[in-house]
């Protein structure tokens, strides 16, 4: 339906009421219902995304960055990946928005308006790394099912909100609390109102961390709709699916949350390593918690041709889930030798860290620069794909860019 037709129909609707044709109009509206925003889907305009962002899926919207788009220390909205499991809520009224804390292990079910959250609790701002559990999935062999993310499903924005801890404690947490589970207002792809597209969560220990926020601002502005306006749970360092968007309810559970995409194979990997392609029973799959150590070379963009004798300044970011990155190295000879990059401390816990190096090449030719981060416990990124898993999660293999010296 074109805009013009829509306007015509809207004008005619008042006439329709006069002649008793409301039902006809109503039924046709239901059948043809397709919100304007989605009819002319230019995601770059609709979501204010950089034109080089890559659309993996348009129903639901799944859009990723490329490495060179993630060069900023704090990722701007234009270069932040979008991973949606369902359809973005259509009508959001922040004035009427409420958050309910309930569940088996809440002392007293409590509901807060957004204004109450903002005024009642102290606000904090943190830079938090959110990476999709399936980032890098496209490299698994045999291929894993789902959106084929390459390297760009990660970002580190600045989030402002109140501590989830403060809100949960205000409602009261029973001693038998195990997990929290979020609920949100997005719509299941099948349009079935009884189904939730996603309802995940985390153990109480993660929920009660200082950096786990109920955020209402991203990079000092209202959170963009595609990223969870008006309220998003943000749990840095864990699969980004824990950071529920459009959150209106958080349940304090007396068991591991069993919402959509908590069970089966979703956001789980085999508890014990398996051979590529193995079948794994649901009960042998374990929930992903902290994301593994990883890094990204964000400058230069892969494919640079430089003059012989010139050194090349590279830079990028590294992160390590719950941990800190202790060391960042690069190699221009496929791992035969490694050189150390200079690495900054994180702005705060769970923020990604920035690295730089000046790279010299011995002679003309084709090179690849590989980056390898090591976390505070001594775990490094593998150069090959890490352990195969049925859903293709946790690919933290070294990132590399191509360079030609001419």
């Amino acid at each position: 339906m074109k805009r013009r037709e829509f306007a015509k129909k809207a004008t005619l609707s008042s006439l329709a009421a006069l002649i008793g044709a409301e039902i006809v109009y109503g039924s046709s509206l239901l059948e043809d219902y397709n919100p304007l925003a989605l009819q002319d889907p230019d995601p770059f305009k609709m979501f204010n995304k950089h034109k080089e962002m890559v659309v993996l899926n348009d129903k639901p919207w799944n859009i990723e960055a490329q490495a060179h788009l993630l060069d900023d220390n704090i990722t701007p909205n234009s270069c932040m990946f979008i991973r949606n499991n369902g359809l973005i809520p259509q009508e959001i009224d922040a004035k009427k928005w409420t958050l309910t804390i309930d569940g088996e292990s809440v002392l007293k079910e409590k509901t807060y308006t957004l204004d109450e959250l903002k005024s009642k609790f102290k606000q904090y701002t943190y830079q938090l790394t959110l990476e999709c559990g399936g980032n890098g999935r496209s490299e698994f062999n045999p291929p894993a099912k789902g959106n084929q993310w390459t390297v760009g499903a990660v970002h580190c924005a600045s989030w402002t909100g109140v501590r989830l801890k403060d809100v949960l404690e205000d409602a009261g947490i029973k001693s038998n609390a195990v997990y929290i589970g979020y609920h949100a207002t997005d719509t299941h792809l099948s349009m079935d109102p009884t189904k939730e597209p996603i309802s995940r969560g985390c153990p109480m220990s993660k929920a009660l961390q200082d950096e786990t926020l109920l955020a209402f601002k991203m990079n000092d502005e209202d959170i963009p709709v595609a990223h969870g306006y008006p309220l998003r749970l943000v749990a840095g360092g864990w699969p980004a699916s824990v950071s529920g968007k459009w959150v209106n309810r958080i349940s304090i559970r007396d068991k591991v949350h069993d919402g959509t995409k908590m069970t089966g194979t979703a956001y789980r990997v085999p508890c014990n390593p398996v051979a590529p392609g193995d079948k794994v029973k649901d009960e042998d799959m374990c929930i992903i918690e902290s994301m593994p150590v990883k890094s990204l070379i964000t400058y230069p963009k892969s494919g640079a041709i430089i003059k012989e004798g010139k050194s090349l300044n590279i830079r990028g970011h590294a992160w390590a889930g719950e941990l800190e990155v202790g060391k960042l190295e690069y190699s221009i000879d496929f791992g035969s030798t490694w050189k150390t990059c200079s690495l900054e401390k994180p702005a705060n816990r769970l923020a990604w860290q920035h690295f730089t190096a000046s790279v010299d090449f011995p002679k003309k030719g084709y090179y690849e620069i590989w980056a390898r981060a090591t976390d505070s416990l001594g775990n490094s990124q593998p150069m090959l794909l890490p352990g195969w898993n049925p859903k293709g999660y946790l690919n933290n293999a070294c990132h590399r860019i191509a360079v030609k010296v001419s």
Binding site: M1, E5, K9, L12, L15, A16, L18, I19, A21, V24, Y25, S27, S28, E31, D32, V55, L56, N57, D58, K59, P60, S138, E139, N141, P142, P143, K145, G146, N147, Q148, L189, S190, D192, K195, P300, K301, S302, G303, A304, I305, I306, K307, K310, S311, L312, N313, E368, M383, L384, L385, A397, R400, A402, K404
Partner: protein
């Protein structure tokens, strides 16, 4: 109040009611006449259908260079079944980017039926799965693929 006054009041009421009903009758009549001349004006559902179909019919299932333009799927045996059954809830992009063998597609379909409200595909299931494994077969990429599609550019550093 005398009987005469009550009677007059009733007449007055009746007069107004008659006026309202006859104006409504005239308006409705007018609309009906207009409807008989231009029926599509009131029939929103039909109008939309007629418009979209007549304008876009040629383009709707257009194939260009072996690709079904609307979905991006490869034109091959089974395309219609795939378009009709696999692009209602999610985008065809999700189908195209996934590479699976017969067994894994069948189990994916079963998963969609069990959890995502996908209907019974009947004899279309075999047609669909054959289409997918023929046109989108798994690629052997090894443990780490060679960098490809490098967009070379001069960098003056």
């Amino acid at each position: 109040m005398s009987n005469e006054e009550i009677f007059k009041k009733y007449i007055k009421k009746l007069y107004w009611l008659t006026t309202i009903f006859s104006s409504l009758f005239i308006v409705t009549g007018g609309l009906l006449v207009f409807y008989s001349v231009n029926p599509s004006f009131f029939n929103f559902k039909k109008e939309t259908t007629v418009n979209t179909v007549s304008v876009e019919e040629d383009d709707y299932d257009k194939i260009e260079n072996g690709i079904h333009v609307r979905t991006g799927l490869i034109e091959a045996e089974g395309l219609t079944a795939v378009v009709n059954n696999c692009t209602n809830c999610h985008s065809a992009k999700l189908v195209i980017q996934n590479r699976m063998n017969k067994e894994r597609w069948n189990s994916t379909i079963r998963w969609m039926q069990e959890t995502q409200n996908l209907w019974d595909l009947g004899k279309n299931q075999e047609i669909i799965v054959n289409y997918l494994i023929t046109n989108y077969p798994p690629l052997e990429v090894g443990r780490r693929a060679t960098l490809s599609n490098i967009d070379w550019y001069e960098l003056n550093n």
